[in-house]
């Protein structure tokens, strides 16, 4: 019903060309231009040659579109290698965060024990700890355990710093799941593990999607930990396509623009395709978190 009312209000305001409305449109468009123009500029310059860049105009119309910039960026930026690492590490991190947070949320919310609230608070404390303060001691720990330059050096902190938010969201949603369902399952002789993974998990689907999106957004672009804990390119992630490339092509600006556009592309494309879901997920995650 409220949706219907919503629509009515909007319809009544549709064809309104009052000055106030025009000002609102101008604000909307101005902000959009400010947000998007740097990216258009980036793509434009990435298709030009370096010699053409020293103009005073805003955009360049290249004499010849330089697709070669992208070929160089793709090959010398080791795009596929870094992309594969990013997908693998982030995928694993997402799976681990979801599984661990469901298990912990269930234990803290449903199971009957004395320390449930204490453990929950303890785990949520991670949200307040600045990630970057752990860079120094973690580096020491990982070196000591010979874990630097392995996938674990990224995976463990990625999971650790996304877990609190995951747990927070899961416990929130678990409150909305009726206990009766579990009671029925117990009657049927289900064990706890089956209840958690076969009964509760499917109900939590929307929140799992939210946790996945938030974890992915948190970690996809991370590079501080990666550049601290990793030394060889073996497990380095997508941001390194740029970080290591700029030295190699320090004077060829056009190719640097290309590598930037290329690195940004996967996330932007996925975002545009999944726009609605991601917006919903972020909104849910951010408002609750």
């Amino acid at each position: 019903m409220s949706k219907q009312a919503d629509k009515n209000v909007k319809v009544s305001k549709k064809k309104d060309f009052s000055p106030a409305n025009i000002i609102l449109w101008i604000i909307l468009i101005c902000v959009a231009v400010v947000q998007i123009f740097p990216l258009i500029w980036l793509i434009d310059f990435s298709l030009a040659s370096s010699n053409e860049m020293f103009t005073t105009g805003l955009l360049i119309i290249p004499n010849k579109i330089q697709w070669g910039n992208y070929a160089k960026a793709f090959v010398d930026g080791h795009f596929l290698h870094y992309l594969r690492n990013s997908i693998l590490i982030n995928g694993l991190a997402v799976i681990l965060v979801v599984v661990i947070s469901i298990m912990a949320a269930f234990a803290c919310k449903r199971m009957q024990w004395k320390l449930n609230n204490f453990v929950k608070t303890l785990l949520l404390l991670g949200m307040m700890i600045p990630i970057h303060a752990t860079l120094l001691p973690n580096y020491k720990i990982y070196s000591y355990l010979h874990m630097t330059d392995t996938i674990w050096a990224l995976l463990i902190p990625y999971v650790a710093f996304s877990l609190p938010q995951g747990l927070f969201l899961m416990t929130g949603f678990l409150d909305g799941v009726p206990v009766e369902l579990e009671e029925a399952a117990v009657m049927d002789g289900c064990g706890i593990y089956r209840i958690v993974f076969q009964i509760v998990t499917p109900i939590l689907k929307p929140s799992i999607a939210t946790v996945c999106i938030m974890t992915f957004l948190n970690n996809w672009n991370e590079f501080m930990m990666a550049s601290t804990y990793l030394s060889s390119p073996k497990w380095k992630t997508l941001p390194f396509s740029i970080l290591e490339f700029t030295g190699q092509y320090s004077s060829n600006y056009a190719v640097q623009f290309a590598v930037m556009a290329l690195t940004a592309a996967p996330a932007v494309i996925v975002y545009i395709v999944l726009n609605k879901h991601i917006t919903k997920g972020v909104a849910m995650g951010a408002v609750k978190g």
Binding site: S2, D6, I129, A133, L136, N221, N275
Partner: protein, 292 residues
């Protein structure tokens, strides 16, 4: 049921992975940091215990003070520049419908999904004195001078602009969600009573958005405090610590200046400041909520 739900072994198996990760990746490093914070240590060789020396030095460290000041500036920038625009844009966006709404929402959020690495290098180019976008735009308005945006006086503002620009979509989206959750019946009632758009915005939208604004302000302050990546790539704190932020400073001290012990002391103070401010803001807003 009760017996099944209080099986200690099952409980342990459920929380163990979470606790393990927490202890290994968060708690143990913090404890180690506290330990190294009391030592003089270059990162190699042996650490010598020097008690509270590091903390005494830190207390008079101008660069650290500057870092906190910059975080404060950034928080003010978020709250006074980014958020008002974000709220207005979110309110206007909510009034749109169909394709336009989705289109603009998408555009505003795109910078947010782009890696900080790309953003930092992109803005380095935008600020470039030779071919940068910003000077070219100013050129159109008749400014002939090639401005160096990373000079001692301008650098911090240049950094703030990037951060405010980059985080805009996030803040906007949260306000937008908040506005979407406002009961449309209220707007209907207001329009029946003859309220114009301005009155509606100030009398209905803003007051009902209070909890959302509080969440957003808290997040803005905390992210201003935790800022590191963009600054690390854009200016690395320079020139002369003018754009320094706490996280970047502790990193520099440990890995560039080889004062690993001192870096950890900064880390400990940094964590304490973050905890105090998070808890402080949350209780402040929770109290207000109760009184209201």
């Amino acid at each position: 049921m009760k017996k099944l739900y209080s099986n200690k072994l099952v409980i342990l198996s459920l929380v163990f992975p979470g606790l393990l990760v927490f202890v290994f990746a968060i708690l143990a490093p913090i404890i180690l940091s506290v330990y190294y914070g009391f030592t003089e240590y270059s990162g190699m060789g042996t650490a010598t215990f020097i008690g509270l020396e590091n903390y005494k030095t830190l207390f008079h460290d101008k660069a650290f003070g500057r870092s906190l000041l910059n975080s404060l500036l950034l928080a003010i920038g978020f709250i006074c520049i980014q958020h008002p625009i974000a709220i207005v844009v979110a309110a206007v966006l909510d009034k749109l419908q169909g394709k336009a709404e989705g289109f603009f929402r998408c555009i505003y959020f795109i910078p947010n999904v782009i890696s900080v690495a790309v953003i930092a290098y992109l803005w380095k180019f935008i600020y470039n004195p030779d071919f940068g976008l910003l000077n070219n735009i100013l050129h159109i308005f008749g400014v002939q001078e090639k401005i160096n945006w990373f000079s001692a006086d301008l650098a911090i503002w240049s950094v703030l602009i990037v951060l405010i620009w980059h985080g805009f979509g996030w803040g906007m989206l949260i306000y937008y969600t908040g506005i979407k959750n406002i009961d449309p019946v209220l707007y209907e009632a207001a329009s029946i009573d003859g309220a114009d758009a301005k009155t509606t915005f100030f009398r209905i939208t803003l007051p009902l958005m209070k909890p959302v604004i509080q969440v957003n302000v808290t997040m803005a302050v905390i992210s201003a405090l935790k800022q590191m990546e963009t600054v690390y790539l854009l200016t690395n704190g320079g020139p002369g610590n003018r754009t320094q932020f706490a996280a970047n400073y502790l990193y520099q001290q440990a890995f560039k200046a080889f004062k690993y012990g001192y870096g950890n002391a900064i880390g400990v103070v940094f964590i304490i400041i973050c905890l105090i401010i998070t808890v402080g803001l949350n209780t402040l807003f929770a109290d207000r909520e109760k009184k209201a």
